[in-house]
Amino acid sequence: MATTNDYKPGRMLLAFAAIVCLLYALMAVVGSWTPRLGLDLRGGTTITLTAAASDGGGDVPRENLEMARTIIQKRVDSLGVGEASVTIQGDNQIEVAVPNVNSDELVELVGSTAQLSFRPVIAVQQVESSTASASPSASSSSSASSDETASSGETSSSETSAPSSSATSSSEATSAPASTAERRPVPALPTEPPTPYSPRPTTPGTEEQTLDEKLGYTPTEQDAEEFYAFQCGDDFPDVSDQPLIACSQDGTAKYFLGPVIIDGDQVTDATAGVPQGQLTWVVSLSFDDEGSQTFADATEALSANQSPQNQFAIVLDGEVVSAPSVSEQITGGQAQISGGSITEDSARSLASTLRYGALPIELETSSVDTVSPTLGGNQMTAGIIAGIIGLSLVVAYSLIYYRGLTVVVVGSLVAAAIVTYAVMVLLGSAVGFALNLPGIAGAIVAIGVTADSFIVYFERIRDEIRDGHSLRHSIESGWHKARNTILMADGVQLLAAVVLYALAFGSVKGFAFTLGITTAIDLFLVVFFSHPMMTILGRTRFFGEGHKWSGFDPEHLGVSRASMLGRRASSRRRTRPDTTGGASARRSGTTTTAGGPTDNTTKEAADE
């Protein structure tokens, strides 16, 4: 068809088709045909953890967050659930999403803020309430030995361990808040403590201690008193270079422990199993290079001690998980924990703790959201219903108001749906984008955004026609005028989406993401699909000649038919004078009488 400008709508449509084909080819390559669904649509558990920097505020180091993410991912994977995703959100959050799992076990496992460490045992004492079931590690002499070690400890070695290196035996740390000590409940003691407790430091000192200093920690009088007064459940600051008073997990024994010898993150692996030729379960663990060296030195020193000081305690989050005794030096970074009390369950759980126990940061469970598959299905249905109602309403409205132009609206909405679907699927496999309920809402809202672009465009075309331009000309000039408005309006919408996305909490992200991509797709579609389609339709008889149902009914628009065909008629006159002669005659007849809009046409004709 002979066009008078160099705009080639066909090429645009071809480009669009090519892009769509490319998208679907990519989907075939990736091999996924459905978008990933969020857990609120198919059931599952979402847990949001917020990290608190261990110094009580400020920023969380990125690498620590990443390490914690890896540990949590391993913990969740060890549950044997598939498709679990653990992602970092914002700068201090970790989101755990596990589909189809709805159990409390998961929450406990993920949420446990485990800090794992190995400490030498200095004293052990049975807890009164459970003396009947004496554990093997707590020998009858434990109470006595505790007293003994405590009373003998008045050496200056403890002072070196104090961060402030003060000369007094009551290691005063400048950073220690006094409230820590005051808050600690003082149970009914046979005798009042002679001196008030000095506060315990809550942060490690800056000086690095040698292994000998750590192993050689000698309790002070205060330590002894506090240990004696300590009851399971009391708080005690868990500071790596300070002694720790802690209970066993079952609460049957309390331990006085030296400073941390080995950190949990020095454990590279731990497995539970029954070694060949043996009958009992053991936990095998291995250390990294640094850990192996420390472990060898520590076990050498410990094995020379008397019980209970030949033990080291594995401390998880302020609780003693296990306190194996050492009979000989263990070199080579491999160790086995064995003993009569270890069962299959406890071995597995200990191994798992050792493997994944140590989180480099403290995490707080901020929110847990479980959705049953039934509810998920309902939400999905609701979302789809909302989409269908929304679409039908928009189509119905445009049918009433824009008549035949609805073809463009529907065509573009269908095109938008095709592209959006492909983009969602591809983003699902590329960056793990999962469609959730607010996401669906975002897509539905985007129906309005897409349709809005048309209204701006259609109304511009109509305005141009009212100004007395021919339809064909109006489609082009209307486009040029509408384009900026559409760009600006979509730009604002995109900005809103980006800001929302930066908000970084779960459901908001999904909405923003969908709204953002659908708005971007709308921009793309308007240029590559809708405008070319409009141009092509404008060349058909139905639209181009303003059929009553085309949405360009000249009568409705308040212009004469001739005015609307004006340009068309005059351009045709050059090529096919026979068909347009009449129209042109009609046109010249009306211009003199019809008033404003057609007057323009006269002017146009004069311009030529």
Binding site: T4, N5, N102, S103, D104, V107, E364, T365, S367, V368, T370, L375, N378, Q379, A382, G383, A386, I388, I389, G390, L391, L393, Y397, Y401, P438, A441, V445, V449, A451, D452, I455, E459, R462, D463, R466, S477, H480, K481, A489, Q493, A496, A502, L503, F505, G506, S507, A512, H556, L557, G558, V559, S560, T590, T593, A594, G595, G596, D599, N600, D607
Partner: protein, 401 residues
């Protein structure tokens, strides 16, 4: 105006056509004090509502736990579940039980620890006669809400600043940014106020909705301002004041604004309907739908009745605009004198025609002025004259090639 109806050779124009040509022009500017007052009252009510009643913050913002279990709802269901959770062995549970639709029971409690969750969940599962894993729950830590609020407010501020900049860059006129932002603030306050007034609970999806509303409100404002800019280009060489040009712009863009608003609101209504009917009014769909519906209607209103009059107000205070207005006023008095002298004369001098078309007065009552001119009013309407000078001329010449 009656003269359009007498012409039989012209097709009967639609309402939108008459709006476009200025055949019919509603004087938005004339009543602007009324709009300002109306908006001020709305804002006052909203602020009072927020101040006195406060916002009903959802558990996402205050912390808490919500359990949902499938259960056939009967008359005694709520009592049975209340008793069941009271006996769960968790102290100060502060439980509220209600039903969602006909087959779901919802129990809301204070923020629970993991162990407490297990106990309450078991109690609910027992009562509902389902497995524990079928009881869905959400647990929000107490400090989480603070973070959310902080983030949401931060996002809002960032958004407003960016949007102000964007509009300024696009229109190159800070007064448009200011007017748009005032209209935005209006929509925001009214939406939040309605939430306080009715007591709907504020959820994260409400935050989504509010930010989306702001986007839409701007969308409308941008469409109107685009036209205002077009109409007020070379305002000093036009025979009308900025206010009159802005009013003509509103009228021309009115149909477009109404249509974009309707089209945008329709899907939102669908979201609201699906959220209420299918999901029993609980969850992000109903929540989003409601907030967006209120905000979009408010956004459409504020872009026409608030943003544009404010913009005109701001611009009219400029000395240049004052001079322009004074000049027009002078012309008008002179022209009126001439017209009244020649009122019986059928011949109208061409110089007076544009004045007659849009009576130029500096006052707000310009549309009320009846200047008797026996000529069709759209022949040399300044709108037309002006739009003829649009860049489309060049595109026309392109087309001739």
């Amino acid at each position: 105006m009656s003269d359009t109806m007498t012409r039989t050779d012209k097709p009967s124009p639609s309402f939108s056509h008459r709006l476009y040509t200025g055949d019919f022009e509603f004087d938005f500017m004339k009543h602007r004090r009324a709009w300002y007052t109306f908006s001020a009252v709305l804002i006052l009510i909203s602020l009072l509502a927020v101040g006195l009643r406060g916002l009903n913050l959802g558990i996402e913002f205050v912390g808490g736990s919500v359990f949902q279990a499938p259960a056939q709802v009967q008359s005694d269901t709520i009592d049975r579940f209340t008793a069941a959770v009271d006996d769960a062995g968790v102290s100060e549970l502060d439980a509220q039980v209600n039903s969602v639709g006909s087959d779901t029971v919802r129990v809301q409690t204070r923020s629970l620890t993991n162990e407490e969750v297990t106990e309450v969940r078991a109690a609910i599962a027992d009562e509902a006669g389902v497995s524990q894993d079928d009881v869905a729950y959400s647990l929000i830590g107490p400090s989480w809400g603070e973070q959310l609020t902080k983030q949401a407010l931060g996002a809002l501020v960032v958004f407003l600043v960016l949007v102000g900049l964007l509009i300024w860059i696009y229109f190159r006129e800070w007064k448009m940014s200011v007017s748009a932002l005032i209209a935005l603030a209006h929509d925001l306050i009214v939406t939040v106020g309605l939430y306080a007034l009715v007591g709907f609970s504020v959820m994260p999806s409400t935050v989504i909705a509010v930010l989306t509303i702001l986007g839409y409100s701007l969308y409308d404002t941008v469409v109107v301002f685009d036209m205002v800019r077009e109409k007020t280009r070379d305002i000093k060489s036009q025979q009308r004041t900025y206010t009159q040009a802005a009013n003509a712009a509103i009228n021309q863009v009115l149909v477009r604004s109404i249509n974009t608003t309707i089209i945008a609101v329709l899907p939102v209504i669908a979201i609201l309907v699906a959220g209420v009917v299918v999901l029993g009014g609980d969850g992000p769909l109903a929540d989003l739908g409601l907030a967006m519906l209120i905000g979009m209607v408010s956004g459409a209103y504020s872009s026409i009745f608030l943003a544009t009059p404010l913009l005109a107000h701001l611009r009219e205070r400029e000395p240049e605009m004052r001079r322009h207005r004074a000049a027009l006023e002078k012309n008008r008095t002179r022209a009126r004198a001439r017209v009244s002298a020649a009122v019986t004369d059928a011949e109208v001098s061409p110089a007076s025609m544009p004045l007659a078309a849009t009576p130029a007065s500096g006052t707000l009552e310009f549309a009320e002025e009846e200047v008797p001119v026996p000529v069709v009013d759209d022949v040399l309407d300044p709108d037309e004259t002006q739009s003829r000078n649009q860049p489309r001329k060049s595109s026309r010449s392109n087309r001739k090639k």
